[in-house]
Subunit: 418 residues, 2 copies
């Protein structure tokens, strides 16, 4: 997703886009703004500023890429503080592999945002997404920040979600509610991403806000577990971004007792709602996968462990041969067998069961004797494809989401920088 900055190569909205964009109610203590800075795009917003009320806590998961960008390093340094007052995100330039100049731009951005919001620079979190290795657009960001501050409002969720997009064809928003100790709290989030999506090692560019009163270490534990079941289970192209970032902020404006332990039973509904928001955003990223025509759910069961199940699911989801067969609507289950075999996890040919669209295709080391391809072919012609793989070995399970590999992926990524 980091070098996705280019003229809109996907003019139309993805055919897999959700039927409607959810309406996000305000989250007490959060104000948002978008501004147009001309960093790379013209005539659209490319800067997002979020302001959090004093006392807000923060948790984050960041890319494990060893060539991560300067903004990622900044977030990693400040996350242990657990306090947030502002988030600044620009699209069009990822400020990655930009050396000392890139670090200076991050520091200047944090200082200016801190001045505007009246806080310490360490309470400002920063992300950048776009081309890798181009000089960072420091001055344009600094010039845009006061304008963004002047526009801060509690209702600006759609504009904020749009400002952080690059090759995305639709803004990605999600919302949920949950009760903590009898008090209803809101969880709102938005994300971006379309290519360079394989956040197996960490996660994606996404921002989630809640008015719940949750201490930062608890927030971190909730986010780490949730990201593992959502963003870390999607893949578009197997390429891991240098800027993957998910931040979860809690303003504490809700009137329940503060939650200070991750094991607190009162968090049960909140955890469920948070996971739903994270999975919703992760799936929207796959639904906007570069060139995607089909949304694919891969359900792996019976693996030696949950980790093994996810690795097998990602081996299937990353296989170009599986993905081109999906694009062609071909029930090519031999390629699924191949991908299971290359995953490097324990597998037994004679116990493997594969089903597509609910039709069992193979078991006991070969095709099901009565196998009829017709219902599978019908399923494969649709938009939503379901692949179930049971290893028959253990109790490990995972669900992975991916999309097909089409000509448009090549068109989009061949026209880079042009």
């Amino acid at each position: 997703m980091n070098d996705a900055a280019k003229p809109p190569a996907k003019p139309a909205v993805s055919p897999l886009a959700p039927a409607r964009t959810p309406d996000l109610a305000p989250v007490a203590g959060v104000r948002l703004a978008a501004a147009a800075c001309g960093i790379r795009y013209q005539g659209r917003d490319d800067l997002m500023l979020a302001e959090l009320a004093p006392g807000s806590t923060i948790a984050g998961v960041l890319t494990r890429s060893l060539t991560a960008g300067a903004p990622v390093a900044w977030c990693r340094r400040n996350l242990p503080g657990g306090r947030v007052r502002g988030i600044v995100v620009n699209s069009g330039n990822s400020n990655t592999f930009t050396g000392a100049k890139g670090e200076a731009v991050v520091e200047a951005t944090a200082r200016e945002a801190a001045r505007l919001l009246g806080c310490a620079p360490s309470e400002i979190f920063i992300s950048s997404t776009g081309v890798i290795g181009e000089p960072p657009a420091g001055e344009r960001i600094l010039a845009g920040l006061p304008r963004a501050q002047a526009a801060l409002a509690a209702e600006n969720w759609p504009a904020a979600a749009r400002a952080i997009t690059t090759t995305d064809t639709f803004p990605k928003l999600a919302t949920a509610r949950a009760a903590i100790g009898g008090t209803t709290v809101t969880i709102n989030g938005f994300a971006k991403g379309s290519g360079m999506i394989a956040p197996d090692m960490a996660t994606m560019l996404a921002y989630v806000f809640t008015d719940a009163r949750i201490a930062a270490p608890v927030l971190q534990s909730l986010l780490s577990a949730g990201a593992d079941r959502s963003f870390n289970c999607i893949t578009v192209d197997g390429d891991t971004s240098t800027s993957d970032t998910v931040l979860l902020c809690a303003t504490g404006a809700a009137q329940h007792e503060p939650v200070t332990r991750a094991s607190d039973a009162q968090l049960r509904a909140f955890r469920k709602a948070l996971d739903a928001v994270l999975i919703d955003l992760a799936q929207q990223i796959v639904r906007d996968g570069e060139g995607a025509e089909k949304f694919v759910t891969i359900e792996v069961t019976g693996a030696a462990s949950a980790r093994a199940a996810r690795r097998i699911g990602l081996a299937i989801g990353n296989s170009p041969l599986v993905k081109t067969a999906l694009a062609a609507g071909d029930a090519n289950w031999g390629r699924i067998v191949m991908a299971v075999g290359k995953a490097g996890e324990k597998a037994d040919r004679d116990r493997l069961v594969i089903a597509v669209g609910g039709t069992r295709i193979c078991e006991k080391g070969g095709p099901v004797p009565s196998y009829d391809e017709a219902p599978v072919a019908r399923h494969m012609a649709g938009r939503d494809i379901h692949i179930a793989v049971d290893l028959g070995i253990g109790r490990g399970r995972a669900t992975v989401w991916t999309c097909d590999l089409t000509h448009r992926y090549i068109d989009i990524n061949g026209s880079y920088r042009s």
Copy 2:
């Protein structure tokens, strides 16, 4: 490569094919034949039989896929014997995921070939390449074997190489000579492969023959080391076949003293010649990569270890974003940075140096100040692309070969079975 069986989706010869096919002189003790059995293709040979003189030794490397085909299991069981009298290879059906029926076909094939050649079934080695999961074509193979035997001849290298191809657009042959103890020996080999090529875990479908007198354990040590520097360093699409097999046979017809130790200094020239043949065949597979328009050499130096260097090289060579940029002739070095970062091996942003076509693009954590894209753009417009990545950390090095990712890859793999 296992499900590559379909009507020729690549009508023309790959633009990266070698200018000429080498002429292979006979190898004393080896006779070859090809036959048309109509296993899947019509009007072309699809069965290859090689006969080896009594006393021939054999070594092999096989796919580590956990869903490997029945022929692979057969080879694995018989390789420890170290003796070979015949090799049977069919194209069009991979006899993979075919259950007990598949095993029965392999056994029947070995028995029939052993009867024809007058040896034990355990001295017959078998490979199958083509569709995964379809009923194996046992009767057609059995019917074709006597015809193949009748056609055995020492000159049939081109026909043998053609008979094992599937989506290949040209037969892949290589030859070299070396002296052992003053006696000149010949090494001839042929290979197939075009898609489902990522033999990182083991290697490819290739057959290499020599008249040298080399004990089977020594042969195995030479082949394992050589495959690691050749077939295990190529990737077309990151998908690992269920049938990858390389066999190296030595007839011992040459008049030098038998070689019984891998450390024997007399093997120096032979090892070099063998490696040259293996690398030549491996590169030809990449040059025939499905849809390939560019041949890409990725040279990784300064890594923490040779293993780390290869992993980084393969991360670059498998990245769809790098490969689509290559197809478009775009010097998109930010994507190379991304791939280095996701490889999971030790890397230091500030020591990383990337050069394309001999032009240094970035160093010290950012672009080279005087960087001029013009010579890089000219290089990228060509057929042979050279990418050099120096990690600046250790002494580990590796060379990986790959091709670009083009629309034709999607066309070829979307038309599967149609």
